[in-house]
Symmetry: C2
Subunit: 220 residues, 2 copies
């Protein structure tokens, strides 16, 4: 499929590269069409890889991944524009992390709202799916780097959009049993708030290469 | 040991009962010495079980468990009083959940602060350890009800206090490898924020009888 990846950071590059590996045509979007990181990615990737502005990418993509930094997401999507996002599955991987007061970061929006909800409210014709924001980039696109099962959450108001996202997640290596549908986009509050715990756990374990699994009691 | 359990709800009763099972002398504290739930617990429990005011309990206990509802915690501790808490290990199991706008709940304090930190700031001579707040009461006190390993976080500024808490947690059935020290009490922000995700996961799984485990990549 034709997929847009907005963002040129570690997450954007990991997702864009993996999508190309999975056979998709990917356009990486940045603020400027001449963005050096995007151009370098195209050079490295060669096949099925293009770069352009946020609007170029969103227009070209049938599906749009938002991999921009959370503090810049709304501006990036504004540059992409309502028309380019209309009706599309918008997979939101971003986290509203604010490092301006140092480490640990705080969240720019939390508790009674989330970045996922802000995006869905602002682009009501887009079909937002929050997913993959709860773990580090290498594991997002290659979950089998961890021994054993672990989980990835999805939330969003459109069931078909979540099914489309799940299809791509399976291509990345996620098992169906590892994909936890949390319901409507409001559940992004919890998935984003997890980052506050994630940062502490990373400190305790000394690596970002971890994820959570869920263990439940056998039910009658 | 002599242990105070502040709070007469599901969490307080579960912890108080398990502490008695483990051989401790427990005083359950409530706003009123005549609290019916506390009296009923003493009746049921018989041995090594007493009830009193928050202050009675905190005074009697060498260790104090705060199992009050998060919205009432600071008032309950105020009733217990600075003198009764001074120098003691104060194990904080509470969550700052606000159900006043219905379900899902929001947090009364989050992101840049936590209830655990508020308690430590207010009672600077107490040795606060945040733990057990991330899972449902039956699993707090009997972790082996779940198949396989899962984790329980500790945070606090006093290493010896965390070691004392860990000793009790081992009596409850927690394995050392399941106890994750997140560092100073500031990490309570993440442990409390987890509740926003916990509520969604409970909805998705259809049971509160679950917990998270951590899976990490093998390190070189």
């Amino acid at each position: 499929m034709k997929i847009a990846v907005l963002g040129t950071g570690m997450v954007g590059v990991a997702i864009a590269s993996r999508l190309v590996e999975c056979g998709h045509d990917v356009t990486m979007g940045a603020r400027d069409a001449a963005n050096e990181k995007a151009q370098a990615w195209v050079q490295r990737t060669k096949r099925s890889a293009r770069a352009g502005t946020f609007r170029d990418a969103a227009t070209a993509g049938e599906i749009v991944f938002n991999c921009t930094r959370g503090t810049g997401t709304l501006e990036a999507l504004q540059q992409a524009g309502v028309a380019a996002l209309k009706g599309k599955v918008l997979i939101d991987v971003s986290n509203p992390l604010d490092f301006s007061r140092g480490v640990p970061p705080t969240l720019t929006v939390s508790n009674t709202d989330s970045l996922g909800e802000q995006i869905q409210r602002t682009y009501s014709d887009a079909r937002v799916v929050k997913t993959l924001n709860t773990l580090t980039a290498p594991l997002m696109v290659n979950p089998r780097l961890l021994p054993g099962d672990h989980v990835n959450f999805l939330s969003g108001n459109d069931a078909a959009a979540k099914a489309t996202a799940a299809q791509i997640l399976r291509q990345f290596g996620w098992k169906d049993s590892e994909l936890i549908d949390l319901g409507a986009i409001q559940a992004a509050r919890g998935a984003e708030a997890w980052l506050l715990l994630w940062v502490s756990v990373m400190g305790a374990l000394g690596t970002p290469m971890f994820n959570l699994n869920l263990t439940a009691a056998p039910q009658d």
